[in-house]
Symmetry: D2
């Protein structure tokens, strides 16, 4: 990424119960951290992500996920998650998350998610709201807001 000015930053420290029977952070947890980063970004919505869910009954289920894991993490390791929005579609948003270990700056994982704005009653896709488009647009790679 040539331009990181607009990236969203989030920090996670590996919890005691996120380690698996092999003694390293369980791979599926990484997706939760990325989702937490997205939820934190959506805190910029009026009423937050919580308001979107509880009041407007809209959610953002994942429809596609890709991940490359470069380096394992141990209990209590801290990671920086740098998030950019790569694309906005009619109903969808594509996120790129880069995870780096704070201690040594090593790349830990590169993860992509596509989420679709969805009516939680009908479970059908709905167009991105203007406010959501504005908040996500602030964090587009290259900068577009």
């Amino acid at each position: 990424l040539s331009d990181e000015r607009d990236a969203f930053r989030y920090v996670h420290r590996v919890r005691f119960d996120e380690v698996d029977a092999a003694g390293i952070a369980y791979f599926a947890r990484f997706f939760s951290w990325c989702h937490d980063a997205m939820a934190s970004m959506l805190g910029q919505l009026e009423g937050g992500y919580r308001g979107l869910l509880a009041e407007r009954r809209l959610g953002l289920p994942a429809v596609h996920v890709e991940a490359d894991f470069a380096s394992p993490l141990r209990f209590d390791d801290e990671v920086h998650i740098t998030t950019v929005v790569e694309r906005l579609g009619a109903s969808s948003a594509a996120f790129l998350f880069r995870l780096d270990r704070t201690a040594d700056g090593a790349r830990v994982a590169t993860i992509r998610h596509i989420h679709v704005l969805t009516d939680l009653a009908s479970l059908r896709a709905v167009p991105l709201t203007d406010e959501l488009r504005a908040v996500l647009g602030r964090h587009m790679s290259g900068g577009t807001s």
Copy 2:
């Protein structure tokens, strides 16, 4: 328990991601297994526990939990959970869960939960329904059905 005829039986095998940074099954997971045993018992309701939640909008949040942990578990250990209902109140049910390792019969934990039937919209306690009372009554210690 002098009389186990009416106990409800449930089996769990420790999953790969239930082990913590100390290399043993994480203590908070045990409560999930007990809750899963209760949910399985409630499968005897017409429409299941799912119907209670989704259609009647009633749930059974825990209001009290006690646990004694006697022996740690490793990845892939199998436990038998023997559940009895100890008491039924106006809105509440008290459960006793005994967890034993299948391989050697060792007592792993003794856990008690009190759950209260709750309207999920108002989050207020409501009286146990007749059907719930009947299903839980089948598994009372001493046998009452």
Copy 3:
């Protein structure tokens, strides 16, 4: 897949705590279920997956994951996971998991994992053992055992 004779079959029922704030099964859980299916397949090893981890100090961290989510799941939904091994490398194995809802046969998700046999002390890749190659080979797409 034209040939499913050698696929490995595993069943999961969505647990009460696998549902998220949007009321559907949390997307990151799907990866755990696939990992559980792989762990179950590795139960065919002498000593099981547990023996590989505890005695030989070898593990199978994921290095790459891809997922397409087609249909959401609710609490208590049952899914069938059909697993085939797509490729075996020097140290790696590529798995394809297809998740179908039991009730209506709907495709729920298609997930791919690449896992690498790893020395858990040094965290370096090691060649697949003959026994691991044999067990995984039994479930190759097309059938190769």
Copy 4:
């Protein structure tokens, strides 16, 4: 508690995947938050809790847990966890955790844990180390440091 000067303070915000099929924070998660508060307190050890586990091969499994749940939590609610050490035994430490919702100060839960210092190889209790006794002693109710 008449004296809170020495209590250890920790904050948690309910994550998206900590909500259950009833739409409230899953009860078993509360124990993880308390454990995270304890782990954070043990960050005062030289090398942290991580050093205790990885280098000294000592852990602190729970042997007893008690909880009263007073008020449910929703996604994104913030709780303050106030922790005091109630008793130190030869090998054990008794913790009291009070959880209060930040928004309105409501008591959410009162939880007690007893943890035992344990050799992770033999899984036997060992006497509390002097350093552990000193760190825990700083947070005793009544104030002892």
